[in-house]
């Protein structure tokens, strides 16, 4: 099956001695051998270590745990998946998926103007400012970013102080009094969890949107204007549809990362559990590897469906 991408001419005749040269010639004549030699180490590493571990985990989700002894019964059963459907566990799944969806929607709204400006209007020095302005937060330490929000959202922190200085503290208190989103302080409320998720994953939404906007040819916008469209009509009917694959590509990241995270809800928010935290606790303190594995299958299935849908929308070209 293997063949060189470009047909290359035979090497010129010349003095070719030594084992290295002969090996080089042999590989040149048999590109398939070279291909196998190149691919073997990465495939072995990823295939054995990563895929092997992944399948071992999936296999264990079909085992069950003996309720009395706590020993794992190694017989194939769907009992563990049945446990996923208890109201408490369904509640965890519902909460996680809802949060992931809200975070994704909010990230798209906040990211779009940044990406749009960076792609259409930023030139020269501003281009560099926007590039680094997105890259630095993206690559900064995840835990430091979470920590900074603990500082911001604390009752004695900067947000309370800022709202107090402009006389809007009553607004924060009214919000915290709301059931479902409020709490004792922002750092122990679902709103806090949401804000941290939004902050930490936002750059993952900006980059693909920017990439898709940069590929929109200017001539299309000019054509739209020539045909009589006002700027807002051009935006609605030309720019926005062309940016959608980028938005969907970004949503893959924000959705998947929120689904699997177990550290943010642990540090900022209520004690309500998310899928990631449930997986962590079931495999750790509870020692219930089968249930943890079954829980881990939930984000895999959701992401599988999501990726299938995203591929149909052409989002992979925007990655």
């Amino acid at each position: 099956m293997a063949e060189a991408a470009a047909p290359l001419p035979q090497p010129a005749a010349g003095p070719r001695d030594g084992p290295l040269s002969r090996l080089s010639d042999a590989l040149w004549r048999r590109p398939r051998v070279l291909l196998v030699l190149l691919l073997l180490p990465p495939i072995l590493w990823l295939g054995v270590i990563y895929l092997g571990a992944l399948f071992a985990l999936l296999a264990q989700s079909f085992f069950s745990i003996d309720e009395f002894s706590g020993v794992i019964v190694r017989e194939p059963t769907l009992k563990t998946y049945g446990e996923l459907l208890t109201p408490a566990n369904l509640d965890i799944i519902r909460r996680t998926v809802l949060t992931a969806a809200l975070v994704t929607a909010a990230a798209a709204v906040v990211a779009f103007p940044i990406a749009y400006f960076a792609a259409r209007y930023a030139r020269g020095r501003w281009k560099a400012v926007f590039y680094l302005g997105i890259m630095l937060p993206l690559w900064s330490s995840y835990l430091v970013k979470v920590y900074s929000w603990k500082l911001i959202l604390a009752k004695e922190g900067i947000l309370t102080w800022a709202l107090d200085s402009v006389g809007l503290l009553w607004l924060l208190e009214a919000w915290l009094a709301l059931p479902g989103v409020g709490g004792n302080s922002l750092s122990t409320s679902p709103t806090g969890t949401f804000l941290v998720f939004l902050y930490v994953w936002l750059p993952f939404m900006i980059l693909p949107i920017q990439a898709s906007l940069e590929r929109v040819p200017v001539s299309m916008l000019e054509a739209s204007g020539d045909l009589g469209a006002r700027p807002d009509q051009t935006f609605r009917h030309v720019i926005l549809p062309l940016a959608m694959p980028g938005v969907i590509a970004g949503s893959i990241f924000t959705f998947s990362l929120t689904l699997g995270d177990y550290i943010i809800p642990q540090i900022v928010g209520t004690s309500a559990r998310f899928i990631g935290l449930a997986v962590y606790q079931h495999q750790g303190t509870a020692g219930n590897i089968p249930l943890a594995a079954a829980f881990a299958v939930v984000p895999i299935v959701i992401m599988g469906l999501y990726l299938w849908w995203a591929k149909r929308q052409g989002a992979f070209d925007a990655l």
Binding site: A12, A53, S141, F204, Q283, A292, A296
Partner: protein, 268 residues
């Protein structure tokens, strides 16, 4: 591109977005100097350099830092070799299963980290492998491959095949061509990819919590401090140093790949 100035609402929204991204990071710098020990009070009641000295004299911080650096160095070295080999094969050959391999490389980063983590942990348990320095490296190298791969494959594609042919025509064998023609061409991309892989490994916490035994990398140390705070001012100082240290490779990677099509940090 349109030559018209941006509308005001767009400038404001984009500016506000950038501020939203950076204010939290700047705040970390302010808190490193606060005299407040018990709470997260703002504005800081006073400023001091005392906590830098306290943090400097903490052996647990140094041990965690040293472990993180060693893990990141070895994981990056492994990822450089595996990622470059894979990129070379993918850029040069068309073959059956090519799509599957590109999916395999991306998978460790596309699936949530907790799945990679728990898979590796249960595999180590099944195989009776004790947790050690090397189990951490195993996990890190796996997800670092994709970063090197992304940077290398873009550069390989742009390295013209005629350069390689010319080298061969002039009598160089495959290894000489690799050493004198291919390597200088891809070197900066590899350096950029390596630095990003290093940053990724240095910062990783989710997979590490599953693959580390009693050992603490710096992010694990940080996580412990966040969940069970012992000395908040020391955490503030360490957080600031971590931000500074991760900025350097990003800036360096930016300058190395500037002017090329590679988006260095794409697809973290």
């Amino acid at each position: 591109m349109t030559g018209q100035p941006a509308p005001l609402w767009l400038k404001l929204a984009a500016g506000a977005g950038l501020l939203f991204l950076h204010v939290p990071l700047l705040l970390i710098f302010a808190y490193a100097f606060t005299t407040e020990e018990q709470s997260y009070q703002w504005p800081p009641p006073g400023l001091t350099l005392r906590w830098f000295e306290v943090a400097w004299n903490r052996p647990d911080v140094w041990q965690a830092l040293s472990l993180s650096l060693r893990v990141a160095a070895i994981s990056t070295a492994i990822a450089l070799v595996l990622g470059t080999l894979c990129a070379a094969a993918m850029a040069r050959f068309r073959f059956f299963g090519r799509e599957a391999i590109s999916l395999l490389v991306i998978l460790p980063i596309a699936l949530p980290g907790i799945i990679t983590g728990i898979s590796l942990r249960s595999a180590f348990n099944l195989a009776d492998i004790p947790f050690s320095f090397w189990t951490i490296v195993l996990g890190h190298a796996t997800f670092c491959v994709v970063v090197v791969y992304n940077n290398a494959v873009a550069r390989f594609r742009r390295t013209s095949a005629s350069l390689i042919e010319a080298s061969m025509d002039l009598g160089a064998n495959g290894f000489q061509t690799f050493r004198h023609v291919i390597l200088p061409n891809v070197a900066t991309a590899l350096l950029a990819g390596g630095m990003l892989a290093f940053a990724l490994s240095f910062d990783e916490v989710i997979v590490t919590t599953f693959t580390a035994g009693q050992q603490q990398t710096l992010p694990i140390w940080m996580l412990e401090e966040l969940v069970r705070p012992r000395q908040r001012p020391v955490t503030n100082v360490v957080a600031m140093v971590v931000v500074l240290v991760t900025f350097l490779p990003i800036l360096a990677a930016y300058y190395l790949t500037r002017g090329t099509d590679t988006v260095a940090g794409q697809g973290k």
